[in-house]
Symmetry: C2
Subunit: 397 residues, 2 copies
């Protein structure tokens, strides 16, 4: 094996197919914990668990790459403990690949009283108010300790609504921090004969010039992959789509493009159209826990009274084990009775839904019918959302 | 098929082996949803869900007979809805056999302001305070609507500490109600070509004479099975064991004996020794949700700090999927982080633990080494409980 000779197998990405009518592409990521076909959606396993399901159930949805949150794992149980116990894969017993975020987003969004300097970010834990200081260097140390296959650079994400000057400062700081992240890593990215990848993150908010500047600066470092950050933070859909389309074009064609924190099925279809390869979002797991499931025809609030005697599956077109086995009436009952099985079944379905969506996207690109596929799927989703909102409005009156 | 000729295959029970040194026996229950080997432990699926796990996970523990709670299902979602949707097996997608309790125990223990007359029990729902009236007839109607394989008679369980006169009244009323239950059923016990069974319940508290009187009266009805009620309501272990031993002797040898609501592993071993065949208890599922797991060496409070870096499985001797895959440290972390997966993994382990205990008991009886098996297992459990309590005591000081 390469590892035995002291040479690590490099992390790699190949584009294996393209849509003739859009920028969508089919790809293959190769990393130490398997081969990942793109476009890919990563379920979020915040603190070493994809909420409400077992890793066996996650695996059975077809997911082979999940996301772990550095901020949460640093606070609890602590990256040193996880390292001591063999890394996050072993600790959580996850056999697939793992990407960890950098904590950049969470130290701003979740913690109190954060203070940003060029050195890093001081913040208080959302758990107990204790004081902490995160730097690019610490983010790397934590992610190395966790044993991630894909390590994300520590970035500053300016809030939506920030003015151009503030966003420009975040772009420059993110670039500076990316260089510091990179300096921590030489010789330390190899694990079990495989090289792990550091992805840079583009910032720039909704300002095209800043997106350009960010792209130029980060791509200069010739990294194995790039993420589009600073979106899905409250901007309208049009802004999300426009900036995504621009950002994807600005990133190199031969590297994976990861749109962080996005999103709804139609958002994902739009972003794939623009040439994005990787996605993560808490949406399928978070919505499931409150009784909302995804269908090809939009969201369905299964805990509503309307489904009390409904023998149909959550989504008639779905082949997941929940839809093969259970009725809306049963799942609605579980939510009414506050049984944990309600969130569990809704989560299994929602995770399957996303994996089936991505499998459908890949197949459509492979057969060069993605443009029509995306049009139909987007229309059906949006029409369903419109009708269901009307129905729910009526059922309330 | 027999069903096609209008003849139902009867519910049956055969004793297939006996322990030469104790009253333990090996048996086989045959019902419309499969063949159940006894001694058997039934996981409790209160409102159409064994809490915190999927029915697939329940099935994988080896359980083929579960208990559903008539009281809970009557209140939510309602037995008529479940009947309309095809019965509880179909509603919950459970392919094994199902026993439902009669609601007798819950209307006294869970509801407020219950008032007992010879007719039945008036009570207020623990969910919303609404008024309801349960009679033997209604209990039968509900259990028939649910489609249970084993229907329990509606009984009155006197509280522990009740005087002899009060317990005697409960015995007589239970007998009277059992006769009324039976009158509802002629011609209605057949379902899909199979006969369902009505089990009578013995009461009598800790009074040997009342146990005798209860046994005489209920066995006169020649029912397919009998339960020992009125135990596991707060009495000391010695009383539980003494009354169980007496009660088992008073029940016919060729019918299954079911000790309701018991219990800890040592209690089950003692009761099997006395000739009991069937058990149910919320203990494995309820304890799991608060972070306590069962091991051959007693209970283990896995959420304790002592296990924060413990790489051992929950129970070194256990072959369950949780013990094969996860460390105490990981499961402890899940409880600390309040992840639903903590209760789920602990429940899977605890349910496996009980199924493995029963499989061990059956194997030991089959090989006529049960007396020694029970001695060893009881000693090990009790010694473990003693040591762990000491350790927990020390670790608190």
């Amino acid at each position: 094996m390469m590892g035995d000779l002291g040479l690590a197998t490099p992390f790699s990405f190949q584009v294996e197919g393209r849509c003739s009518g859009t920028s969508a592409r089919l790809g293959r990521l190769q990393c130490g914990h398997g081969e990942i076909r793109t476009p890919v959606f990563m379920p979020v396993g915040t603190v070493g668990s994809v909420k409400a399901v077992t890793f066996e159930q996650v695996w059975d949805t077809g997911a082979r790459l999940i996301l772990g949150n550095t901020y949460h794992l640093y606070l609890r149980p602590g990256h040193r403990l996880i390292e001591e116990l063999g890394g996050l894969h072993k600790f959580a017993s996850w056999e697939g690949a793992l990407l960890t975020d950098s904590a950049g987003f969470q130290v701003f969004s979740l913690s109190d009283l954060n203070r940003i300097t060029d050195d890093g970010v001081e913040f208080r834990s959302h758990l107990d108010g204790s004081r902490h200081f995160f730097s690019p260097e610490l983010s790397m140390e934590i992610q190395l300790a966790l044993g991630s296959d894909i390590v994300m650079a520590f970035d500053q994400c300016a809030p939506y609504g920030a003015d151009e000057k503030e966003v420009a400062r975040a772009v420059d700081r993110t670039t500076d921090w990316l260089r510091r992240c990179r300096e921590v890593l030489p010789g330390r990215l190899t694990r079990n004969g495989w090289e792990r990848a550091l992805f840079g993150i583009m910032q720039g908010g909704v300002f095209p010039e800043l997106r350009r500047r960010s792209a130029e600066m980060i791509t200069e470092l010739d990294l194995p992959g790039y993420a589009i950050g600073g979106l899905s933070v409250g901007e309208p859909s049009e802004a999300l789509y426009e900036v995504t389309a621009l950002a994807a074009q600005l990133l190199p064609d031969d590297r994976p493009r990861y749109l962080m924190g996005v999103g709804f099925p139609d958002d994902i279809l739009e972003a794939v159209t623009a040439g994005v390869d990787m996605f993560d979002c808490v949406l399928p797991t978070r919505m499931a826990r409150t009784g909302t499931v995804l269908t090809r025809d939009g969201r369905l609030v299964v805990k509503n009274l309307a489904y009390a005697a409904d023998t149909a599956p959550l989504d008639a077109g779905c082949g997941c084990p929940v839809c093969r086995r259970h009725s809306r009436a049963y799942i609605r009952h579980l939510f009414q009775a506050r049984e944990m099985l309600g969130p569990t079944l809704a989560t299994i379905h929602n995770l399957h839904f996303y994996q089936e969506l991505m499998a459908g996207i890949r197949e459509a690109i492979a057969e060069d019918r993605f443009a029509a596929f995306a049009d139909r799927a987007i229309s059906r989703w949006r029409e369903g959302e419109r009708v269901r909102i009307d129905q729910n409005g009526r059922s309330r009156s």
